[in-house]
């Protein structure tokens, strides 16, 4: 029986603080697997998902990765969806390709280089940090304040890159403040920030805290453009902020734009399957499975080493989340989309091609 199936490991945050991200990704993964299997599988083999929960804890993520590779004999592992978990899983060194749907930290893999096990299909913090900084400058923002979640790798990484790029492009960072995860009252920080005027506030953080910060900002009468990263693409954010008028002047980077061509099919089938709009995380999970299927398709016997090789060769794969090219460090070169929120409505404000991100002189 096992000859007729391809075991695909899934190592996601299904409970705990980051459960929403894991859940969304899993939905995309399941959808993709169903589609592949419905289409007759890959060379006649069906994808069999082996899903493990890592409780949003690093150590559990590592253990899950070890279990998937060492005991469940999966061909490839998808996840975890956040950087800490991925780092832990990679550190466990389990010898199976790990497809990373949404972890954006720059230095995920232990060594970098071509022989690491990590294959990332999303952009990195550097890219989105640069992109949002360039976008801000383009919009005429001169001064920015930064509010970072102190215990989040992601938040810190993005803040750093943003600050550097923004300064290089001629902007000034007027204040840098921190908050802790799980905190609920941000009046102290916000009151402090209020003392220095700024045009925009960079808030790279998870949606729970972000929603509260947005609410409290408005309650304190801070009116500034809000910039953020892909963690904002969570429908729950809109819900938690409660008020449409608070959901204005917000720009954040995202993995795909709702209007994209490729993904309209996906959006439709996702809506059919789950009765809701597909968030980017689901799309990323979906792409992971599709990429895996493609790689296996190209191999002879679906050995893990071969799959890894084929994954590394990926060029110009046009997935739901855009055109993916895996570079020599196994990172994806991808366009960064900037989404605008006005009165609770999302629209694409800009799309920045990977080539443009690193070129400081050229306009996006």
């Amino acid at each position: 029986q096992s000859e007729n199936t391809l075991r695909l490991g899934v190592n996601l945050e299904l409970t705990g603080r980051l459960a929403w991200y894991g859940d969304a990704t899993l939905k995309g993964i399941k959808l993709a697997a169903k589609e592949v299997n419905a289409a007759g599988g890959i060379r006649g083999k069906r994808i069999e998902l082996v899903v493990l929960d890592n409780r949003s804890e690093n150590a559990e993520a590592a253990l899950a990765a070890i279990r998937l590779a060492g005991r469940e004999n999966v061909k490839t592992i998808i996840g975890p969806s956040t950087s800490g978990g991925v780092k832990a899983s990679l550190a466990a060194g389990c010898g199976v390709p790990i497809l990373v749907p949404s972890a954006t930290a720059d230095d995920l893999a232990p060594k970098g280089g071509a022989d690491n096990e990590m294959f990332r299909i999303c952009y990195t913090d550097t890219m989105q940090g640069k992109a949002i900084a360039r976008f801000a400058v383009k919009k005429g923002i001169r001064t920015a304040a930064i509010l970072t979640e102190s215990s989040s790798d992601y938040s810190r990484g993005m803040s750093q890159v943003f600050a550097k790029t923004f300064k290089a492009l001629g902007g000034t960072v007027t204040a840098q403040e921190y908050y802790a995860s799980g905190e609920t009252d941000f009046c102290t920080v916000l009151t402090k920030l209020k003392q220095q005027p700024f045009d925009a506030l960079l808030l790279p953080g998870y949606y729970t805290e972000a929603a509260l910060i947005i609410r409290q900002m408005h309650e304190l009468g801070i009116k500034a453009v809000l910039l953020s990263g892909d963690a904002f693409d969570v429908p729950a954010l809109d819900e938690l902020v409660q008020s449409r008028e608070y959901l204005s002047n917000i720009y954040f980077t995202d993995h795909y734009a709702p209007a994209g061509k490729e993904h309209s099919d996906f959006a439709r089938s996702y809506h059919k399957a789950y009765g809701e709009q597909a968030p980017a995380y689901a799309a990323l999970g979906y792409d992971c499975v599709k990429l895996f299927a493609l790689a296996v398709q190209k191999t002879e016997g679906a050995a893990t080493a071969e799959i890894a090789q084929q994954l590394a060769y990926t060029t110009d794969y046009s997935g739901v989340t855009g055109v993916i090219t895996i570079d020599e460090n196994h990172n994806a070169l991808k366009a960064v989309h900037i989404i605008e929120l006005q009165n609770g409505k999302r629209s694409e404000a800009a799309e920045i091609e990977p080539d443009n991100i690193n070129q400081f002189t050229k306009n996006p």
């Binding site: 929403w20 102290t188 929603a211 509260l212 938690l240």
Partner: protein, 292 residues
């Protein structure tokens, strides 16, 4: 600098929330000598009950709070009866472990029932913003402050000057002697739990309406309130309130002065400083100390 006045008021307002939660902590600790780690999860349950009332039943804040208080009181009763009561004979540690177990149980049951994501009370539920001079303050925080003062006074009166209150304290001191005075010690303990849990329910609604509701929402305020109750003088009702306010103030001022990265540390540094320099807390409560 105008910022300081604002920070001061912010601090007090946050402190009021801590104080509200700390009250229940202190009450139960006074009776059982147990740090009821499940307290903040009962609060979480209260927040969810309030949310259900507000979101699903479209009830006002007051009925929601009353419902939450009622359900939490019941929950507290059940927890006490089946979780803690079998262990009164044993030392403190098994009790503490059971408390932690109950805390986990409540958290993850909520996660199963309501999902891991956060929920929010309907917009405008707690009535907009209040302006005091140049300072803007959400009305809910003002409510918390007032509620806190009222509940403290009420609770203090009940414990000090009513027969049942004295019985509760007597049981806290010496169970056998309390029996010899005709006090049904199980009833007294249950009473303390019911009161404490009802308080937790109310604070859950206040907290939830002010911020968010989620299964793990109790963790951070729980630890802070816990620190507050120790800083104020564990076992002392006014102490819990003073401790909460002091903690809120200290956090706000330290955050404003030294950068917000230190804010979290402040509460614990304050906690340890108090323990070492004045173990009785602000109120210098004597519970647990004795003579040679």
């Amino acid at each position: 600098m105008g910022g300081w006045a604002e920070q001061l008021i912010n601090g007090l307002a946050v402190g009021a929330v801590y104080a509200l939660i700390a009250l229940g902590y202190t009450l139960v600790f006074g009776v059982l000598r147990l740090f009821n780690f499940a307290h903040c999860d009962v609060m979480m349950a209260g927040a969810y009950i309030g949310w259900l009332c507000a979101e699903r039943l479209r009830l006002g804040l007051l009925p929601a709070a009353v419902a939450a208080a009622g359900v939490c009181a019941l929950l507290g009763l059940v927890v006490e009866r089946f979780g803690y009561r079998p262990l009164y004979g044993a030392s403190g540690m098994p009790l503490m472990v059971v408390a932690l177990g109950i805390s986990l149980l409540l958290q993850y049951t909520a996660m199963l029932l309501f999902g891991a994501g956060a929920r929010v009370y309907p917009f405008g539920y707690t009535g907009g913003v209040v302006r005091i001079g140049s300072v803007t303050l959400p009305a809910s925080k003002l409510t918390a402050l007032l509620l806190c003062v009222a509940l403290t006074a009420g609770l203090e009166l009940v414990l000090k000057y009513t027969r049942a209150g004295r019985a509760v304290r007597a049981v806290a001191d010496d169970k056998t002697a309390a029996r010899l005075c005709g006090i049904y010690e199980n009833r007294a303990v249950s009473l303390a739990f019911v009161l404490g849990s009802a308080l937790a329910g109310i604070s859950g609604v206040v907290y939830g309406s002010m911020y968010l509701v989620s299964p793990l929402m109790g963790l951070t305020p729980g630890l802070k309130a816990f620190a507050a109750s120790v800083i104020g003088g564990i076992g002392s009702i006014p102490g819990a309130v003073l401790g909460g306010l002091a903690l809120g103030l200290a956090e706000a001022l330290a955050g404003a002065a030294f950068g917000t990265a230190t804010k979290d540390m402040v509460s614990f540094v304050l906690l340890i400083a108090f323990l070492l320099l004045r173990p009785g807390g602000i109120m210098n409560s004597k519970s647990g100390t004795g003579r040679v």
